[in-house]
Symmetry: C2
Subunit: 340 residues, 2 copies
């Protein structure tokens, strides 16, 4: 049980009569359920903390119970149902093996590529779990994996069909993804642990000692503050292997009064995002295509600002919000489930 | 109170009659006390977990009590006493302000530069706390600080006088230091958070999930394993800003079976140490001088191996153990306290 008050679950929705799809974005920390119309409109949304972190290894019954509890009064009977994200990882409802890149996004839900699990009430008693993507380049390049972001990418391409031919998609977050798309396929991608490094260093390292008590809202309050700019400037000067040194600046800039304590989280954020961009921009420059940001608006705005500082010649990227529901709907539509 | 069994404290030492100095290496996690002869021999050693982490902010009486408890039966009366390390930080026994680089190592204990605190039983009722060092370069270069390493550096120079004229001293650890020494002075230095990043990522990140249960001995058991070599090779290919991506290899190399789980800690260690060396070697190449490793033998051996892989043209570095006691003794001797 979680102590978090979940405002979305207990709200009684008016039962939508044109529901055509149950779409689940089932990640590590949250289960998000969307009741969708055949044309892609979101009719109702529910959310619970029953993510993989809460349910991992508890077996299929625990996952089905979490879903039934969240959607008890939804008219699911006979609806096709689809889920993407960590629910298909090892320890999830059932493992949905990775698809290797290059991977077409339109066919993620193909029965030959996805897996089905028993789930009462939905159409055919079967819920489809989408596979994640894997990139296995020849050594010494590093392999990579994603689960959930491929659904957001599919949604972005469905919403902005011009991206399908040729684009770079950047999804900031705990494990930020840079994905290269061409002709409707993810050619390859790479993960940067930017968000996780920030959280570890902000909360649990020596660097946290000089910083004000953590308050995510305050940390993000002034994305153009002196700390943020100093972190970006440090990233602009980055040399191979210097991150472990530059991070210590989040202590020494404070000790030497070059930055006030309140600006130190901004320095850390600017340094980490800036270093990620240095690396990603090198790949983008080597293989140019329009860049798109997908995800939470405030975080995307930070990345867009960092891009302006580090690559002023780069056109301002298109910014999309959470495209996961649309991606799930698009997969279902391309699988022919919404034709009836 | 700590649950750690402290084997060194309760051992009754034969009381040495030629004691001439009480030297304290008082860091964040440990207080180490050395009873030394006028010629620099260590006559007895004691150690307790009463470091700054246990005592910070508790005031002078707590520090004095920790020292008296540890050394209750030592013949301290009339001995000069000197302490280096975090005991002189903010929140320590008393703050010993930093000395700015370039800083002469021989004069760390000068009364005009160090601070004295009241301490019963030792000579004059006063214990000398050595200052740390600070490097304040013009922006945009980052400031830096050390507390305790300057004592080890002083000890290394006293043990190996040839280093005094011209050397690079590398002190691996939680916050590794690269110090440039010329004419007996630390010209400048830089910190790399290599050890702290390793500990955070090894224990508390997503990367830990695929790794075997932590066992520091096992992690260090095969410094030449496949994971270590892969991490070094990844560091050899490092581009600016790519650490956040390369770290994720400690997950994906495991998921893709390119490395067995037991080799993933080695990959993490090789990557982090290798990236630090990439950065440090750039500075060393720009301003060449003999390189010396100071610190715990197994960790220094890892660094020496990484140096062989990443910079085979570099002469094998001299490796020194814990030079802190000798550094404290040397400071006392240069201050004239051991002449009588």
């Amino acid at each position: 049980m979680s102590l978090r008050i979940d405002v979305s679950a207990p709200t009684p929705d008016p039962i939508p009569h044109d529901a055509a799809l149950l779409a689940l974005d089932w990640g590590t920390t949250r289960l998000r359920a969307f009741l969708m119309a055949a044309d892609g409109r979101i009719l109702a949304t529910r959310e619970s903390p029953q993510g993989l972190g809460a349910l991992a290894g508890q077996g299929a019954a625990a996952f089905e119970a979490a879903l039934q509890t969240l959607c008890a009064d939804w008219p699911l009977d006979g609806l096709p149902a689809i889920a993407g994200g960590m629910v298909g990882a090892v320890g999830g409802w059932r493992e949905a093996p990775y698809r290797d890149c290059p991977a077409a996004l339109a066919t993620l839900a193909d029965p030959a590529l996805a897996v089905q699990v028993d789930c009462a009430r939905v159409r055919g008693g079967r819920l489809t779990l989408l596979p994640g993507l894997r990139w296995l380049p020849p050594a010494p390049e590093l392999p990579d994996v994603m689960r959930g972001e491929e659904v957001q990418i599919a949604g972005a391409l469905a919403l902005q069909p011009a991206l399908e031919a040729d684009s770079w998609l950047l999804l900031p977050g705990t494990h930020a993804k840079w994905a290269r798309v061409r002709d409707g396929r993810v050619l390859h991608f790479s993960t940067h642990m930017t968000g996780e490094l920030y959280a570890l260093l902000r909360r649990q390292s020596l660097l946290a000692r000089l910083m004000p008590a953590e308050d995510a809202a305050a940390d993000a309050a002034d994305p153009h503050g002196a700390g943020w700019r100093a972190g970006l400037a440090q990233a602009a000067r980055a040399q191979p292997g210097d991150l472990g040194h530059a991070l210590f600046g989040a202590r020494t800039l404070g000790l030497s009064s070059r930055l006030p304590s309140a600006e130190l989280p901004g320095y850390l954020s600017g340094l980490l995002i800036g270093q990620e961009l240095r690396c990603g921009l090198q790949a983008l420059t080597a293989d140019p295509a329009p860049l798109v940001l997908i995800g939470e608006a405030a975080l995307c705005a930070r990345y867009a600002d960092a891009l302006r500082q580090l690559a002023p010649q780069q056109p301002a990227p298109l910014q999309l919000g959470n495209t996961a529901p649309h991606g799930l709907w698009h997969c279902a539509r391309r699988a022919g489930w919404l034709d009836g």
